[in-house]
Structures are given as structure tokens and as C-alpha cells.
Symmetry: D2
Subunit: 106 residues, 4 copies
């Protein structure tokens, strides 16, 4: 993500003085709420979705994730790489590879 | 986000041959599921949360968002800026500024 | 639902002195969190689910719904019938009947 | 809940021939989506909520729960009591009673 994009997201909140509402708990609720607006695109069908709508809802989820990173002073690369370290240990290639059965059992 | 981080996320899926499970609908479910593991950090208290746990769950949400971008061939900067164009029109600075009352009514 | 079942749910909370944590907002979070544990049963497959697990997670969602009814002094029959009045007007039988296309557009 | 309420919910679906869309997976998505519309009532404030809106969204969650019970041939009292058996063992009164700290650690 480009620095200008991140700056634009934070400036949007700042300009409106909305930082006061962006507690970590409220942002966690917001991420879940937007994630479910995204899920609603697939409520009755897995395949018959409106891509333009999906793009908007996915963007909303990501915007609130970025707000939360900012609020908690976190770095995206850092927390994702720390989690990927764990995931790679938890699901070794040989063990996880392949079948849905294995995947759902992991 | 650095290119190496994005590449690592995609390689993780590829190495395990899990792309077959990553339909847009399944990824939308996964984003919601992880968002709620994040929300669980704040289930009974807004202030008394475990930051290490928050970091992991937020990372999980972001990883599935990146998987979905990849799956649908989308660019994060592009969809976020398109959504910010809309948000900035919908909530003009003068109108949105300030009180929680205004904010919740928007 | 039998009165003994409802009483048992409320007594469980009362015996543990947990009513203090059951604010409406915390219960709303809890309903979403449990709903996503239910959703997790279908994360990678629509058809290949563990019925015993589904039963437990669905029960958890319903228990928190009953806690919320109690907390807000609401009657299940009353709020559901009020909502069904609305739904029946919003989706007249002739209009809503049938195709997925119509359904998703409603 | 009264039998007429349950019957009304099932008749609503039947009259519109919507049972075809009510797969267990789609209902699980729907429960999560409605749970998040309920959560949205508390997005920016725990205390400043619109009770009429809360009632409608809570009713929506419960309606989909009832649809799922019906779809899977389950009995609400049965699955809830089975889960309460587990909960009562998992959280003995002496152990769980009282503080938020204990509660969040459970």
C-alpha cells in the first residue's frame, strides 16, 4: 500500500475529529460489521456476486484495519510477518498440502 | 506493506495447495471469522485487552484480505482510494466534524 | 422453548454473578462472536459439516439472544411477531416467490 | 416461544418458496450478518442505542436461528440443555463467580 493511501485514511478521520470514537474496541466492532457487509455479498450464492460491491466492502474492512494499526501504533509488516512465522510452523508444507479434509481438520 | 510480505502470504497458500479452498465466498467467511476472533479480545471489556492477542488476530484479518485481493485480481490502493472518494463526498468535513451524536446519525 | 430452559439459562448467569458483564453491548458482541463460531463450521465447505459442533454453536447463539431479551426486558414472541409484520409487508408473497435472482435483489 | 410464532416464521419461508436458499451454510452466514446489524446498534457507543432498532435486529437473528433449527430438524430445548450441561461443568459456580478478571480468563 502506498504511503499516500495510508495518509489519506488517517487524514479523513483527523479532519472530522473522529479519532475520539476510534477506540480499539469500537474499531474491532467496526471491522466485524464491515466484514459482514462483505459477507452479505455472498449470502445466498457463492458465485453470483456483485464485484463492485465486493470491492467497496473489502476496502471498508481494510480501512478500519489501518485505523486500528494506527490507533495501536502497530506496523502491518511486523505483525503479519510475526503471524506468518507462527502459521508456517503450525502448518508445515508436507502436512497441510492438499486435500480439503486435511485442511478442515487443521 | 512491503512486497516481500505480500509475496510471503501468497507463497504460504501456494506451497500448501490451498488456493482451491480460497473461493471469494470462503474468504469472505474467513475474514468475518477472524474479525470475530479479534472482537473476542474486547468481549467483556473495552480497555482490558491482551495486545499480543490483538496483534495476531488483526494480522489474520489482514492476511485473508490480501488473499481476497489476490483472488479477485484487485489492487489495495485502487479500491481503497475509490472508496475514500465516496466517503469524502458522503461525509463532508463541515457536516461530520465532531460530536458522537452527529457521527452515529451519519 | 420451555420455561425451564429459559430459567436454567438465567440461573446460570445469576449463580456466577455474571450479570454485571452482560451489558447490551457486550451481549451484542457475544452473539456475533458465537455466530462466527457457528459460521466456522462451514468455513471451507457448505456440505461437509460436523452436526454435533453446529448444534453447540447454534445453542450458544441462542443462549446469548435469550440473555439479551432478559437484559432488555423483551418478549421473544412480541419482537419476532412485530418484525414478521414488517417482513410480510416488505416481501409480498407474489413478489418474493421463487427465483434466487428475485431473492437476492429484494 | 409460542407455537404460532414458530409456525409463522416457517410459513413465511414456505409461502415464498425460499426454502431452496436456506442451506445450513447460507443460514449460518445470515445469522452472522444479522448479528452484525445488531452489533452496529452499539458501534460507537455502548449506552446510546436505539431500542426499537435493537429489537428488530435481535428478532432477525432469532428468526434465522429458528430457520436453522427447522432445516436441521433440531429441537431448541434439546440443544440448549445439552450445551448448558457442558457449560455448567466447564464453569463451576465456585470457580466462575464474580470478578471480570476471572470471567475473561475462563
Amino acid at each position: 500500500m502506498r504511503k499516500e493511501t495510508l495518509d489519506r485514511i488517517l487524514k479523513f478521520t483527523e479532519d472530522r475529529d473522529w479519532d475520539q470514537f476510534h477506540t480499539p474496541a469500537n474499531l474491532a466492532k467496526s471491522i466485524s460489521i464491515e466484514a459482514n457487509e462483505l459477507l452479505e455479498c455472498f449470502q445466498w450464492s457463492d458465485d453470483n456476486y456483485d464485484l463492485e460491491h465486493v470491492k467497496e466492502e473489502l476496502a471498508d474492512v481494510m480501512v478500519y484495519c489501518i485505523d486500528m494499526l494506527d490507533k495501536l501504533g502497530l506496523d502491518a509488516d511486523e505483525i503479519i510477518n510475526a503471524k506468518m512465522d507462527k502459521n508456517e510452523k503450525k502448518y508445515p508444507v508436507e502436512k497441510g498440502r492438499g486435500s480439503a479434509k486435511k485442511y478442515t481438520n487443521l
